[in-house]
């Protein structure tokens, strides 16, 4: 059976309906060709011909030409359009021309570097092994490192390793730095938010080091489609970058469906579960022999889906499994094996988190099914791009969850299909990030007076660092004066560099995976059910100082979800203004404390809440920036509701505000946090309760906070302050336009959790905030 047949089963008349809200067909496109440039060395052209490449796609030709001319280039083209050739060809040509030439490739993950290694080694084989290419990362054995430093023409690594393993030891890498001509940065679009801000600073350090060795290397970026690739690349390197974005690659026929799970209770606004519907749809494709990739937005959902699909497709005796999971926590060898199985077609279905969204070479599959909107337009296209057979057609299905963002997208398909993709924001001059990298920079080479490092006032910062004992000024230079190695304490990806390892004690103890510190608190707390490879483990105990979680296999009919309590403290107001309500809007600095205080047990399939427990885990603290709206007492008093109804309204409103803010900022959902706190600065902090509301009484003047989910902030709060009016107007549209009666997961949150009058109260507050006129409750037909 072909893709088209199954699509016809889902939508027999071929027209959108209440469930399948969009059917977007993309016709096949022919390739645009360009000849292999004349300057390409004959042996290299022959090596490519040996792999069936006689001509280049037009975008490849344009990119290699610009790189050859010495320009910095960013190549922006869809999945599987041959972007690696754009950088490999000019780099290899330069190495063949002059064997001293060196290049450094950065990939966001180790898996991507491995993938590229295989491709380059293959090419190297047909060039008589004229160049050395090696990965250099945390998995590289210590005894191989010395020889790699000497022999590698191309070093494949990641920003984390560059930051902590290469730059602080640059004198051991003299061969590389003295001859460094190209720096390739793949998957540029992943470097946004805090990761991108860190990378910009790592690159500032890298450029200091290359200057020390007298080099000025060129940068080559490749990126998935985002709105501002050129701007992002320019901000990352602080220099000019040319954009190549007209793809000449061919593409097969494809259909993209938006699927909104049917309503089962219109009154409560409850739809069928997104997970179960994804399972049902994926199962149908797998059943008909189509190779299928399922994406989930969380590790937990991925494991639940994997459990279901494995039960449908049990492992044939004596043969390898045909359904596999794939995510960050899996060990490298396991991942390589899965990638191979996918390419060879042995594995018929894979359930992944965002890990397989990036350009890991697994070939093209028939179908991609997404459980929930991935959060950004760019990610959605990346995931959909995994389905792309040249023959027989391919299909991508987005199954909406009941989250407001998902509902907005599937109800307004034109927003997705005709809208521009997201902007990637970074803030390289975030002081917290910049100062940390300034320390690393001083460790690597003494900072010279008059040197520049981003926008910072270097002199002032160095003086502060000297007062704190980090630096010492001598003869026009600032020297590092600490015993410690600063890069060790700085993680590019999260608040801390700690990882928890998961130790399975069912038999002899063995490590089965790891999770980063922040998610450890909510995924491997005591009594949590940890799913790995669809096997359930229960966490027996957590060794906090040793960063270990000990688990044993169990057979439970539920999984667990952590309950997180968040508290906010206002530190400084940058700007504030009175707005309608009466209320006040503001943005500034805050301190966020969050703590996992308990967990819920959720039953498989029915997803009922079947129990809960309390936990005492350490607090996490973060200093960041926030935008907030403080509701004046007069507004609160004017609401015709009880104290608890008002609170329900506030939480409902916050829930909707957060969703709309993500949409307007075009940011990843994880980038933004939301909480409620006391507004008036002279009133003491409210006492805590598990759901974040005061345990008795109510806030005098409550404030709704939307904060940057990164220490130091990444510049989203001020834009929110500027679009305050638009944010409230859109939120009002979302809630009043929702079909539910008294609140549902798609607007203010499920009525069972937010209270009977949450939607009504949230609307009443909103109407006062947008200027007092009452807006009719609109019902969609």
């Amino acid at each position: 059976m072909e893709v088209g047949d199954i699509v016809r089963q889902l939508v027999p008349d071929g027209a959108p309906n209440e469930v399948v809200t969009a059917i977007e067909r993309f016709s096949a496109r022919e390739a645009e060709w360009a000849p292999m440039p004349a300057w390409v060395r004959p042996e290299l052209a022959a090596a490519y011909r040996g792999r069936g490449i006689h001509e280049l796609y037009s975008h490849q030709a344009e990119a290699v030409e610009r790189i050859h001319r010495g320009e910095n280039v960013v190549v922006v083209t869809p999945t599987a359009s041959g972007k690696t050739l754009c950088y490999n060809l000019p780099v290899l040509d330069a190495i063949l021309e002059n064997p001293d030439t060196r290049a450094l490739y950065l990939f966001p993950t180790k898996a991507l570097a491995q993938d590229q290694l295989a491709e380059l080694q293959d090419l190297g084989g047909s060039l008589g092994d004229a160049f050395g290419v090696f990965t250099y990362d945390g998995d590289t054995p210590a005894d191989a490192r010395r020889s790699i430093r000497q022999r590698a023409h191309i070093v494949l690594t990641n920003p984390d390793m560059l930051h902590a393993g290469i730059l602080p030891h640059h004198t051991k890498w003299t061969r590389l730095f003295e001859n460094l001509q190209y720096i390739v940065i793949d998957e540029l679009h992943t470097y946004r938010g805090v990761f991108g801000s860190h990378l910009a600073n790592v690159l500032r350090r890298l450029r200091r080091i290359t200057r020390f060795y007298g080099r000025d290397p060129r940068f080559i970026f490749s990126s998935a489609t985002i709105a501002n690739p050129g701007e992002l690349a320019r901000r990352l390197i602080g220099g000019d970058v040319e954009i190549v974005d007209r793809s000449g690659a061919p593409s097969g026929e494809k259909v993209f469906l938006f699927y909104n799970p049917p309503m089962v209770n219109r009154f409560l606004g409850i739809r069928r579960s997104c997970i179960n519907e994804t399972w049902r749809i994926a199962r149908a494709f797998v059943h008909h022999g189509l190779q299928t990739m399922v994406f989930a937005n969380s590790r937990l959902h991925a494991e639940v889906l994997l459990t279901y699909l494995k039960r449908d497709n049990p492992q044939p005796p004596g043969e390898p499994e045909i359904v596999r999971g794939y995510r960050g926590g899996y060990l490298p060898t396991e991942r390589r094996e899965i990638e191979k199985g996918l390419r060879e077609g042995r594995i018929r279905a894979v359930v992944s988190t965002s890990a397989l969204e990036l350009g890991i070479d697994i070939g093209s599959l028939d179908v991609a099914v997404m459980a929930g909107y991935p959060g950004t337009i760019a990610s959605t296209w990346q995931r959909a791009g995994r389905a792309g057979r040249r023959k027989g057609g391919a299909c991508a299905v987005l199954v909406a969850s009941s989250r407001p963002l998902d509902q907005f997208i599937v109800r307004n398909p034109e927003y997705f299909f005709s809208g521009s993709p997201e902007h990637a924001y970074i803030q390289p001059d975030n002081l917290e990030i910049l100062v940390n990298h300034l320390k690393c920079a001083a460790f690597e080479l003494p900072l010279q007076e008059g040197e520049s490092f981003g926008e910072a006032d270097l002199e002032l910062l160095c003086e502060r660092l000297a007062e704190s004992g980090y630096l010492h000024r001598s003869g026009g230079f600032w020297y590092w004066t600490q015993e410690s190695y600063p890069a060790d304490a700085i993680s590019l990806r999260s608040v801390t560099s700690d990882n928890f390892v998961i130790v399975d004690e069912t038999g002899p103890p063995k490590i089965i995976g790891e999770v980063d510190f922040t998610s450890a608190l909510s995924t491997v707390h005591p009594k949590a059910i940890y799913l790995h490879g669809a096997i359930q483990y229960q966490v027996e105990r957590m060794d906090f100082p040793g960063r270990k979680a000990y688990v044993k296999q169990v057979d439970a009919d539920y999984f667990t979800q952590a309950i997180v309590y968040t508290e906010v403290e206002r530190l400084e107001v940058d700007e504030s203004a009175a707005v309608d309500g009466p209320a006040a809007k503001a943005h500034g600095d805050v301190r966020i404390r969050s703590q996992v205080v308990g967990f819920k047990k959720i039953k498989f399939y029915t997803l009922e809440n079947v129990g809960s427990g309390n936990l005492e885990l350490p607090e996490n603290e973060m200093h960041t920036t926030a935008y907030w709206v403080t509701l004046r007492r007069a507004l609160i008093d004017a609401l015709p509701y009880t104290v608890s109804e008002r609170q329900d309204g506030l939480f409902g409103l916050l829930y909707a505000l957060e969703s709309v803010a993500c949409l307007l900022l075009m940011c990843d959902r994880v980038d933004l946090g939301a909480t409620i706190g006391e507004g008036a600065p002279d009133v003491a902090e409210p006492p805590r309760a598990p759901n974040g509301a005061p345990s008795d009484g109510e806030w005098f003047e409550p404030a709704l906070y939307l904060f940057d989910n990164y220490p130091g902030g990444i510049g989203q709060s001020e834009p929110l302050y500027r679009i305050h009016d638009l944010l409230l107007a859109r939120t009002l549209e979302l809630i009043s336009g929702c079909e539910c009666d008294k609140g549902c997961p798609s607007c203010v949150g499920p009525v069972g959790e937010t209270g009977e009058r949450s939607k009504e109260a949230a609307l009443a507050i909103l109407q006062r905030l947008v200027g007092g006129q009452s807006t009719e409750l609109r019902r969609q037909p």
Binding site: P168, H169, H170, T171, K172, T174, D429, L431, E432, V435, N436, K439, A442, F443, E444, L445, P446, E455, A456, D457, L460, L461, R464, L465, E467, S468, G469, Y470, H472, S474, G475, F477, Y479, W480, T481, Q482, E483, S484, Y485, P486, D488, P508, K510, L571, E572, D574, D589, H623, P711, G712
Partner: protein, 409 residues
Amino acid sequence: MTAIPDRLCQVAALRPKSGAGGHAHRTEGRRRAEELASLLGGRMEQNGRGSHFRVRRRFAGPAAEPLAPGAWRRLSPGSVPPPCDPAGWIFLDTETTGLSGGTGTCPFLVGVGWWEADGFSVEQFFMRDYGEEPSLLEALSERLARFRVLVTYNGRSFDWPLLETRYRLARFGAIPEPSVHLDLLYPARRLWRWSLESVALAEVERHVLGFDRGGDIPSASIPQRYFDFIRGGAAGPIAEVFRHNQMDLCGLAVLALRLNRMLGDPEHSDCAGGELFGISRMLQKSGELPLAGRLFRKSLEKGLPRETELRAQRELALMAKRERNFRVSNEFWEKLLDGTPEGFDAYEQLAIYYEHGARCPEKALGLVREALVRLRESCGSGGTAEDRYRKWHGRLCRRLARLERKCAR
């Protein structure tokens, strides 16, 4: 970014680490040089790259001794240049701003020592501030150029790579390493890790060489003493670092002499069992097998800790086997039969002997069965880790299957 000054106090990365960042009282630079000079008897030195502070001292002992025959190839197996007497050796030890390595760790005091006609000379190069480093490096390279053998303690992986980094950063063209680098940590580990908890130089001095440093400072305090000094702190605490470094160099020289004697005539030196075991392993490395065998036996006579005893017996069994002296090797294997790594080796070796040598597969089969029982017991009691269990289990099972077929025929 006009608002920077107000925001700075909120930046966690700018705050001092707990306890650090005390402001030492500033004393004027020149006066402190005088203070140091009066405490240590050194002076400022000028060269083409600036100036640095230098201390010279002469110690009456230890007296140099000629190189014992054989000691060289045992200490430095495979080194090309012909041996030279300890009088041609230079000892080196650095005091640094940290132990983590990398380009931000700096050796601020480099001490070297060598023998002269009338005693042991120590010279120390010190930078009073970072700006004096190039001059220090220049003086050091001139001194090193006069010697052929560099002797350190853990210098191969720590002091020397660090100095190489400093020469690179200061853009020196050539890096002046003497032609042979003898790192005494390696022989010290071989000889004393069985009897000492730590083979840190001061521990070896105390327990092996029999002298106590008395009022020495803890090494961990050294970086902070330097940071305090460059921020204007008093000279007293840093003077103690100089003395510590002198003790390290003298200790290193005494250790070198002790090793020279022990390795020169290991059969007649008064060594403990563990030391003999270590020497035997070194002799295996330098290819002196008959002597190694004699010393393994002697070490067993003198008494060894259990773990080392098993290893010595295993080595002797393997050596006898290589000489095809099966009577002797079997004798050792028989003693070793047990649920230990050496024990599994022994079961396997005996099984090989009975299967192929003595042509008695039934006896081999019995041994393999017994070994499997021992292996299960040992894994059950935690004596064998899972990966080793799997390795041995596979090997034994393959042998078992073959022997069963053989015996059934």
